[in-house]
């Protein structure tokens, strides 16, 4: 274990997962960081102190995780199971099962429900307060047009991105049918979807180095604001190489966002002013996941090969926690009009 000096990549967490990182999430109440991995483990770190606070082993690779409160969390696993973890007692129990691996999981503070999306083309809502056992805790199952790839929550809105470039927008209070059925503005497979912190829309990234900024407001004025931009690309000898954009994380205060791609870069963007604010130095391998801490002072970066080129030798999986400078994330006022204009 090397104690990394404060470097350009941020502080590396000791005792990282031994296989690909599937997701990382900061708690809403502290600087605790929940990490799910393909090595079948879920780890809880105290990110500011660099201490491993807890570790759970599952029956299969863990594809997603989220916090309930500071003392407990939920995980979605390749073994079709949705689990609840209680950190203090190192206890876990099963919330329920899907018919296929569970790809993503979210906990809604407003409804107190857990929402899971699976490759069995369904969404399921769970009430974690119910007694253990599927028949007690399952609230509802909602069919999706395709396998669920990514999900994001803001307030009562739930955005579900599936294979086949479908995007469904739900109102958590009425899950019987989607509030909006959409198609991705991007032409390629959706990698990640994240709602704006202000609840007006969502950002969606694809495997072809592009991010679309969408808005919920269906009026013409509302829709005219949407746009897409290219990122995480490289020009080499006249050829463009495009990389998948694996992760999007919004800054909780400024509403700016970071994207991470298979090129190993993390970029920070100002969506309102359509500007790139910052690019962090390159990481050794793909950026698998990103998360800002609740106050936006810390950014956790999972540098972990995401299997985009199949099974091949790759750099070790690592999680970096970097303290975020305000300059890097604060929106700048629009630049001076270009002189030639």
């Amino acid at each position: 274990m090397t104690v990394a000096p404060p470097s350009s990549t941020g502080r590396e967490l000791s005792d990282p997962p031994t296989d690909g990182v599937s997701n990382i999430r900061f708690s809403n109440h502290s600087d605790h960081l929940l990490v799910s991995s393909w090595d079948k483990s879920v780890r809880l770190y105290d990110a500011s102190a660099d201490v491993l606070r807890g570790k759970f082993m599952h029956g299969g690779a863990v594809l997603d995780c989220c916090f309930h409160d500071d003392a407990s969390g939920f995980t979605a696993s390749l073994d079709h199971t949705v689990r609840r973890l209680v950190f203090n007692y190192n206890k876990e129990d099963t919330l329920g099962r899907h018919d296929a691996p569970v790809r993503c999981i979210e906990y809604s503070c407003t409804t107190g429900q857990v929402i899971t999306g699976s490759w069995d083309k369904t969404l399921k809502c769970w009430d974690p307060r119910g007694a253990s056992g599927q028949e007690r805790s399952l609230v509802g199952t909602y069919t999706q047009p395709e396998r669920v790839y990514s999900m994001s929550l803001v307030g009562n809105r739930l955005v579900v991105a599936t294979a086949g470039r479908h995007v469904n927008v739900y109102d958590l209070r009425n899950m019987s049918q989607p509030e909006q059925r959409r198609e991705s503005s991007l032409k390629y497979q959706t990698r990640c979807v994240r709602c704006y912190p202000n609840g007006t829309g969502y950002a969606l990234s694809s495997v072809e180095g592009r991010v679309a900024m969408e808005f919920f407001d269906l009026s013409e004025a509302g829709q005219s604001k949407k746009y897409a931009f290219k990122c995480h690309r490289k020009t080499e000898a006249g050829k463009d190489i495009v990389y998948p954009v694996n992760a999007i994380a919004f800054h909780p205060i400024y509403g700016t966002f970071a994207t991470g791609g298979c090129d190993g870069y993390v970029n920070v963007w100002d969506g309102d002013n359509k500007k790139r604010l910052y690019q962090y130095p390159k990481y050794t391998t793909s950026i698998a996941a990103l998360s800002f801490s609740r106050d936006g002072r810390l950014l956790a970066v999972a540098s972990s090969y995401t299997y985009e080129d199949g099974d091949k030798p790759h750099a070790v999986d690592a999680i970096f926690v970097r303290s975020v400078n305000e300059v890097e994330v604060k929106p700048k006022p629009k630049a001076l009009p270009n002189l030639a204009a």
Binding site: W38, P145, A163, Y188
Partner: protein, 733 residues
């Protein structure tokens, strides 16, 4: 002689006489002989004598005794007197010998009694004084050599002088004691004040020296060693105090500096006011309780380190701000800033503490100053360049305007346009002169400075040259067109002669503003967007010319460019450097499939952050260009498209397709293709290619499923395969 005794004697004489007479009678009666009578009388007389003699002896002895007693008394008196140091007054009295011995004795006895009492009193006084002295000495020299034994009074010398002497000694001792006590108390008080200031436990420190000192009441130990120990304790604490004071003053100095540096608000300063007000205080002025305690010093220390951290980050921020300023400045002056990466490295170095932040700041400021200075020198030329560019803008506008054959149609704003065109023409005429003047100015500048004048990294001279070359080309083109037109005119007149009517000439090439609505239907107009005739000149344009305003040749481009982000990284094609780097690659973008390729080929390259609605229209455009091609390559295209992965077309496009009734239905099918691992480089295909990207999905899927199903990386990694029944539903969708 008292009469009573005389009477007794006379009575005794009578009784003696009577008894003698009685004896005479008896004797007469008895008839005693005279001899007997005489012997008897002698015997009587002898016996009487004997009695007398005994009595005299007795009296004599008594007298001697008395004398002895008197002498003894006198001797004692004398001894006492001498012991008391007084003159024996009574001896003189005895010389006078005023009375009998008994009287004398009686006179002496009370005197003796009195003297004895006096002596006892004196002795008691002595004892008291001596005891006092002893006790004081004991206190002072307690732990030292002074052995404690009771006071011994010298009986022989109890004189007042001696007493006074002793009393003096006692007083001296007493004053010494009080002095010492005062000293001890003073030192303790001082110690106490030191302890308060330093935030130490006074009782503990004093208790270590001697337990008795810690008690509030009770006698204090005032021995030499205690005083000495107190002294050393005070010395130690003072040293500690001075040391801490130094520390605190150092800290407050840096605190004040930091405050000053960062304009810390008064409220924040208030909490530390009591430290800072002691900045200039001397040692004795530091009296506030706990002001020098470890806690407070630590508190100040943490504040200082906090502020230092703040300063560090502020400086970093400042550096970044300065950097931004530098960038803006460079952008304004069209200079290429010094290697960005060097700055990044510098900032990283600050993070790691390898380089002093202020040094970097200085460097940046220096750089800014340098750029500013340089900007000043460039200003004149830059102004000219701007003028030139504005003129170029107008020129291109004019060109376009000239191409519009409806330009003379009376319409809204037509007269304004006319006026503008007039002005533009005048301007264009002046252009060569302008360029010439600019070039000569630049040459002078370059000769003067000895470096090349760069504009956004490109040498201005070469830009000008290219512009001139381009202009010449255009001139030739125009000439050719004119000739052609003439020819066409001839042809037309001939036709007219034959058919009678004159068809509207190049209406298809009419240039209009790009319709804002993305809906189809206006195929003619949108077609013009991607019209090949318009494309050509632009594509042939040298890259550096592209960096000049020529890129805004047409209105439509301006609209696009409106969305052009300011950040270099976001807008690769519009940045001069980037374009240079891509020279020789007219088709700059990869296109994973056919349609994409078409879209890219069109000059209207979708810029990052440009609105999606525009994409739609460009798709419309693409569809139309496709149509054109379809006429020729319909068969081929049809084939390739079925082979190729169909792409999703927004519904609007489909409607056009239906309207036009030409595009094959395959266009409508929407199974999005997976561009696979997109990190594989994708080249621009000239013909609709099969997907070049090397996807390595699960091989079995490829075999069994005729139409490929997309899988995410995770699914592929997990080996997740959709069951066959599901597959059917997918294909049905």
């Amino acid at each position: 002689m008292p009469t009573g005794v005389n009477n007794l004697l006379s009575r005794m004489e009578t009784t003696c006489g009577a008894l003698l007479y009685e004896l005479q009678i008896i004797w007469d009666e008895v008839g005693e002989s005279v001899a007997e009578r005489d012997r008897m009388l002698l015997e009587l007389e002898q016996e009487c004598l004997e009695v007398y003699r005994r009595k005299v002896d007795q009296a004599n002895r008594y007298r001697v005794q008395l004398r002895q007693a008197i002498a003894d008394a006198e001797a004692e008196l004398a001894a006492i007197c001498s012991a008391l140091g007084e003159r024996p007054v009574h001896i003189r009295q005895s010389d006078q010998n005023c009375g009998s011995l008994k009287a004398e004795l009686l006179a002496i006895l009370p005197q003796i009694e009195e003297m004895r009492n006096r002596r006892i009193d004196r002795k008691n006084q002595f004892i008291k004084v001596l005891e006092e002295i002893h006790s004081i000495k004991n206190e002072i020299y307690r732990s030292d050599r002074f052995a404690s034994n009771g006071p011994a009074v010298d009986e022989a010398d109890l004189s007042i002088k001696k007493l006074e002497e002793l009393q003096r000694e006692m007083q001296a001792l007493q004053s010494e004691k009080s002095e010492r006590l005062k000293l001890v108390l003073d030192r303790m008080k001082y110690l106490d004040s030191l302890c308060i200031v330093l935030g130490l436990d006074f009782k503990k420190i004093v208790g270590e020296i001697h337990p008795s000192l810690a008690e509030a009441a009770g006698s204090k130990n005032i021995s030499n060693s205690i005083i000495e120990q107190l002294g050393t304790a005070i010395q130690n604490l003072r040293e500690l105090k001075i040391q801490r004071m130094q520390q605190l003053q150092d800290l407050t100095t840096s605190l004040l500096e930091l405050w000053d540096l960062m304009d810390t608000p008064i409220e924040e300063q208030q909490t530390f006011q009591k430290f800072t007000c002691h900045l200039a205080a001397s040692e004795d002025e530091m009296t506030e309780p706990d002001i020098l305690s470890i806690n407070y010093i630590n508190c100040v220390k943490t504040e200082v380190s906090r502020l230092e951290g703040l300063k560090e980050s502020k400086i970093k921020e400042l550096i970044l701000k300065k950097k931004a300023e530098l960038e803006v400045l460079c952008r304004k002056t069209h200079l290429i800033p010094d290697s960005d990466s060097a700055m990044e490295i510098a900032i990283d170095a600050i993070d790691s503490g390898a380089v002093d932040a202020t040094f970097v700041l200085e460097q940046i400021e220096l750089q800014i100053a340098r750029v500013k200075e340089e900007a000043l020198g460039r200003k004149e030329i830059l102004e000219k360049v701007e003028k030139w560019m504005a003129a170029c803008d107008e020129e291109s506008w004019l060109e376009e305007y000239n191409r519009d054959d409806n330009r003379y149609n009376a319409g809204r704003g037509a007269h304004v346009m006319l006026k503008r065109a007039e002005k533009a023409r005048a301007l264009v005429n002046k252009l060569p002169a302008m360029v010439g003047a600019l070039a000569s100015k630049v040459i002078v500048w370059e000769n003067e400075k000895g470096i090349a004048f760069t504009y956004d990294g490109v040498r201005l001279l070469s830009m000008l040259e290219q512009y001139m070359v381009l202009r010449q080309e255009k001139e030739q083109e125009r000439k050719r067109q004119r000739d052609q037109k003439k020819l066409q005119g001839q042809l037309l007149t001939e036709q007219e002669a034959i058919y009678g009517s004159k068809p509207s000439p190049v209406k298809n090439h009419s240039v209009k503003k790009r319709p804002r609505s993305s809906c189809g239907g206006a195929s003619n107009r949108t077609l013009s967007l991607g019209g090949p005739t318009l494309q050509t000149p632009k594509r042939e344009m040298p890259p550096s010319a592209k960096a000049t305003p020529n890129i805004r040749n047409s209105k439509k481009n301006e609209i696009i460019n409106k969305y052009r982000p300011k950040d270099d990284g976001l807008a690769p094609p519009s940045s001069g450097r980037r374009v240079v780097g891509m020279a020789g690659h007219p088709a700059k973008h990869q296109s994973p499939n056919l349609v994409n390729a078409r879209q890219r080929e069109s000059p209207v390259v979708r810029k990052p952050f440009s609105s999606i609605s525009f994409t739609n229209s460009s798709k419309t455009n693409v569809t139309n260009t496709l149509e054109d091609r379809n006429k020729r390559h319909k068969e081929k295209l049809h084939k390739t498209q079925t082979n190729n992965k169909p792409f999703t077309t927004p519904p609007k496009t489909i409607s056009i397709a239906e309207q036009e009734n030409r595009t094959p239905q395959t266009m409508g099918i929407s199974v999005a293709s997976t561009p696979s691992t997109s990190s594989v480089p994708v080249q621009t295909p000239t013909t609709p290619p099969p997907l070049q990207t090397t996807i390595t999905p699960v091989p079995s899927t490829k075999k069994t499923v005729p139409e490929e199903i997309e899988y995410s990386f995770e699914e592929r990694r997990a080996g997740f395969v959709l069951p066959r029944s599901r597959l059917m539903t997918v294909t049905q969708v």
